[in-house]
Assembly symmetry: D2
Homo-oligomer: 401 residues x 4
């Protein structure tokens, strides 16, 4: 017996649920990519998207749209500001800053790391120490993710900037916001971020295939002498006038149709409202987990509640348990897809996304399904049932005013 | 602050959520409606839909697809088997049999009623009595709905048939299955139903615009002398060979694309599974309401649990309460649309649909949202919270085996 | 070898090509059909469609949208203004007025006919004569089509009105505009038309399933005593306030989404521009046929050029020829679907539609394909080739200013 | 007055018309990107696309799908087989091999060129001479396009391979098939091509955003020591097992849905049939131009008919004429978008695409529209009209058998 037939619930931390409006915006015939004198519709879409990305990154810097996934933007970002032989400081807090570092290494960059733990955020004090130790100034950039999609951890970017300042180090601060942009506050300029990287497929609610880089003035200055620049990624070419330059070739027409619509939706709702929505849905998830974890079957991966992210919750299972039965029951019997644990948590964890196009009933439906699954699989007992009621109560409290 | 941005939840008892697959099936260019010798694609769709409707109505009788809504099918049904001056017996259990009777009256038919109550099902004993009283045989047909979408009541069709047989009356048994078809068992032939009426927009998961009639042999026999026959509805014309005859004119191309897809989904899942899914989701809803009702703010409209339908639950509010604040909170703040009370329950009730393309997380999300709304609006207290947990527990129990 | 792979060209005289914008408008989730106090989105769509239909019918009368195809609207129209035993005068000029008459007969109406010819328009003088002969005033309505989709003939509605006036007869003038509305001028009020009937699937560019009736004051007056009124069609019920009354039941949600979009497109382009576009595309078609017919293989069905319609051209083949090879070649090898001959022209004719969402390259592509087919099938010779060039030259001439 | 309202005709040489089926395939909810043990649907799509690309490239080599446009694939291709300081030989025949060379230069590669002419194909004898002159073996690869989208020229790849062999040079042969793949024969293995580059948005009928590289054994061998390898493009990483490796990160879910559908359509039609279709539609275009050019207003850009490509025809205007009025008339009045001249032909030429999802009536409609435009703009006279008839006659001749 299955209760899965109906709209499927996708609760993986990206690519996230695409709004029907975005899918519909992409469902239209191809158009001319060469505008007339004034530019044409596609030119206007590109121009407005580049401009609205500034609003979303909260920067007056330059923005770039790559036809690439997030890893492409990683490569684009580092290749525009660094040279072979440069060193970067990688701040570990899960999987993704490490991955970005590996990417940099493939370009001939040396890697130093502030070792971290999958269960907690980057410690700014360690960053300061590592930078202070770099007396020769070999470190040219600090790589960090705002939210690590694998661990579910959120890093305190302003604190890291403060640490860098305290060390008096002039490395660039490069932040991966792929899993956080348009989910929680990010203030590129106010926080002193030099390079920010984003992707279409998470908070931006657009199918994967586009990624974004924003570059502040210090990054643009370093760019001038960066030795790793190459055509496909090069900001200098993209800063030229012609439309095709913005994409180093053919613009990604249909994905831009989608992105434009998604950004309209984001600006309509307002970033503050979006952040609040994510915070509350994360809070509801945490409230449910706080009940369920009493069974001892699993717990938050991130130990400090303040370091649990607004967009994804990673749950670490008791050593003798595997995530697959939970995922399988939710998918096969209930129509809910939960995220797998990945990297070091592969086979040891599962993830609940609350990211992008998600609202109260989607989240309550997901958590409700998980409550059913945990019950049937014997992973909750009388004391640890009712997580779903706790989630609803949390939202009731939050919406009471 | 709103948590509504995400996929909208539509929990009205029809038109129900249309599966993405059905919407997609309708999104294709128009095609030729005149097949070649063999018929062509549209001819095949029509033929297969007429055939599969027999499977769904569980009949070997003839099926008809009207380009009309359910009221059209009501008119189609009665006009094919009755003559002006005939009498029908209307079995009240809410709004819709009465409406069907009014429709019949507009065609010159006399109405007798078995008076009913919006809070309970038709009493077969009263039907038997009314038919026994018709010693002159004026009553030519009995009109009844299987599920009344307004009251949320389900009638026991086999028991009504038994009552008719007990009375030895030869009136036709005409059943409106608009809100029940493909939601709960219906056995046209086994139960001795002569005419059944259905619509596209509820259990059949297709946008409104198509309605269905199935006719058994006794109905077809009465048809021959029926005085109310007219071209648009006339079965005799639709029994002719040419494709356009099946629709008395232009076939409803895109709606048929949708219907074909929806019926494929239905047959893939299997009627038994669909009925079980509806029964469990209704059960989960009832479990939640059983907790919430402790507050005294509202209660089931249908008093006898056995008479509560598998497809819609109608909740009657305490006299001093109005449904609009609940509906408005759910819609504006949470993205969930609940059904209004209608007819006698207008302004006094609201409805939760669990009908058609609905699964566990959709239902749990809807009930979870309602739990939040009731909490914020002060319609539950400490003893009456946790309906959502009861719903999840109900499903856990049901899926445990 | 086939050259058919690409976008398919549908050149049948309805259901016509649905604009991508209309299909897209229908591809969205279902919404609540019960608005709040103010009505809600669907209520606004209904209201605006009813209003804009007045603009399109050019009337200040009342408009109605039926969930039905065109035949349904026929039945709706006559049942609202006539009583059993009334007589209607059917003006033959092809298939469809006759069909409307047959529909009326099924309702108990007597039929008189002004016999016509499939190759020419109704002769107003004969109409006058027939009405003058009706000294007893038995004729209550005159039924005529503006364009007969089968014969391709266009009738002169103002001239028929003049004839009726000349006869001093007070029958209603009821006009089927299904194949002409939004294709050529129609002036319901200025021309003295009492009842007009339309459908969604031709000039209105929406999938089939909706049909329209407009009623002027004289028709509304007759309505009061009309004996054939029945709920599903009854204007009196539809004149009531509640939204569901407008459709006698469930509104056809997704078709209304499509209709709204199509009417937006029509009003954006402007009726005058639309009529001009149709006139020119018909002219281009006629120019091509004027070349091809020199071969003797086929000719215009309508002999008088002034009586050839703006929306469809019917071509009658030489007695020894059949349309199927032409249709099959165009479809299988080229991707173009031509219309079949129907009714008396079944097996003897084929049809080229230039109706609705059709522009110059669609028409030139269709005619170009037909030129290829005629060539390959040996139905043109050196003197009768180049119809496509004549069509292009015609358009060049027309657009030169 | 405009005749543009109807389906828009897009005749630019990429991104080309996307089939409705492909757009529809992309219009579906997001799915899990992490399969279970067996992989899941997306894994199967990736695997099958990589396999079917081998069929389309006609190779047993390895294929790669980049989330990137064609320029990205250029960079991907060269970075996988070359090292900084290597030299490539660029074979000019228009815009695009030159562009590829510029891209390579940005990576630190030296460029030598076989100078060419926009009006003719690469001369294999010059290739042989250039390679013979490279006595030091500095040239590591030859870069050439099969069809230059700007000039409309097609190069003879087998002849170039023969020239390379004759020179006894071991440079890699790297071919850009972006504007030719699935439009005309390409035999990667049989022709001795080492690296081939393609894109989604032309013959492959999928929106832009994906590009493809196929690598033969010699290229894979060179890859091992290539110094320009970097993570995003690196074949070695993509040759690993995990699904995300195939895309170096998040797979481009919705574009893959589209690509899968497009490849299904390609394989259904068959490559030979597709090539034949393109050849005939190019032939029809050439036949029309052969008539129109008699006016002297414009002529084929490519002088030798044998060097005119199957996918795009570039037309060079008389010196005193500009393309914009022609483009504007076709777009504004007729709904047809022609391609601009680009690069050296900017402002001097326009282009007619016959590439991808295009059939006889689309092409005849486009050419018919151009015939109208040329007529109205006075660019044809009595002797040079009738190009459209010549196109139809050409197709008639071709389909006669």
């Amino acid at each position: 017996m299955t209760l899965r037939n109906g709209r499927q619930f996708l609760s993986i931390p990206g690519p996230t649920t695409v709004p029907d409006e975005v899918l519909a915006a992409m469902h239209r015939p191809a158009i001319d990519i060469y505008g007339g004198e004034g530019g044409g519709e596609l030119f206007e879409i590109t121009t407005s998207c580049l401009k609205d990305l500034k609003t979303i990154f909260r920067t007056q810097g330059d923005t770039y749209i790559y036809v690439a996934n997030g890893h492409g933007a990683w490569q684009g970002a580092v290749s525009n500001v660094l040279s072979a032989g440069d060193t970067v400081l990688v701040l570990e807090s899960g999987r993704f800053a490490v991955g970005w570092g590996e990417m940099a290494r493939s370009l001939g960059i040396e890697i130093e790391s502030v070792a971290g733990d999958w269960r907690c955020a980057v410690d700014p004090a360690k960053v300061e120490a590592a930078l202070r130790a770099d007396t020769e100034g070999k470190i040219k950039a600090v790589l960090v993710v705002q939210i690590d999609t694998a661990s579910g951890c959120v890093n305190d970017i302003p604190a890291i900037r403060t640490a860098m300042n305290a060390a008096g180090h002039d490395a660039l601060l490069m932040v991966d916001t792929i899993a956080s942009l348009a989910c929680m506050p990010f203030e590129m300029d106010a926080w002193g971020v030099d390079v920010a990287v984003g992707g279409s497929q998470k908070g931006l609610m657009t199918p994967p295939g586009l990624s974004f880089v924003a570059a502040g003035p210090k990054a643009k200055e370093r760019h001038e002498s960066a030795g790793l620049r190459s055509s496909y990624w090069d900001w200098a070419l993209r800063d030229m006038e012609e439309h095709y330059r913005k994409f180093c070739g053919t613009p990604p027409v249909h994905l831009l149709f989608g992105l434009r619509k998604a950004m309209d939706m984001i600006l309509d709702e307002g970033l503050e409202n979006i952040f609040h929505r994510h915070a509350l849905l994360a809070g509801a998830t945490h409230a449910a987990v706080d009940v369920w974890r009493e069974s001892g079957a699993f717990d938050f991966n991130v130990t400090d509640p303040a370091q649990r992210s607004a967009s994804v919750t990673t749950l670490r299972l008791r050593d003798d348990l595997r995530p697959e039965p939970i995922r399988a029951f939710c998918f096969d019997r209930l129509g809910v897809t939960l995220g797998l644990g990945i990297g070091d948590l592969s086979g040891k964890a599962f993830r609940i996304a609350h990211m992008g196009h998600v609202n109260a009933p989607m989240m309550l439906g997901t958590l409700g399904a998980l409550e059913v699954a945990l019950d049937v699989l014997g992973l909750t007992d009388d004391d640890s049932k009712g997580g779903i009621a706790a989630a609803a109560a949390y939202l009731g409290e939050a919406l009471r005013d």
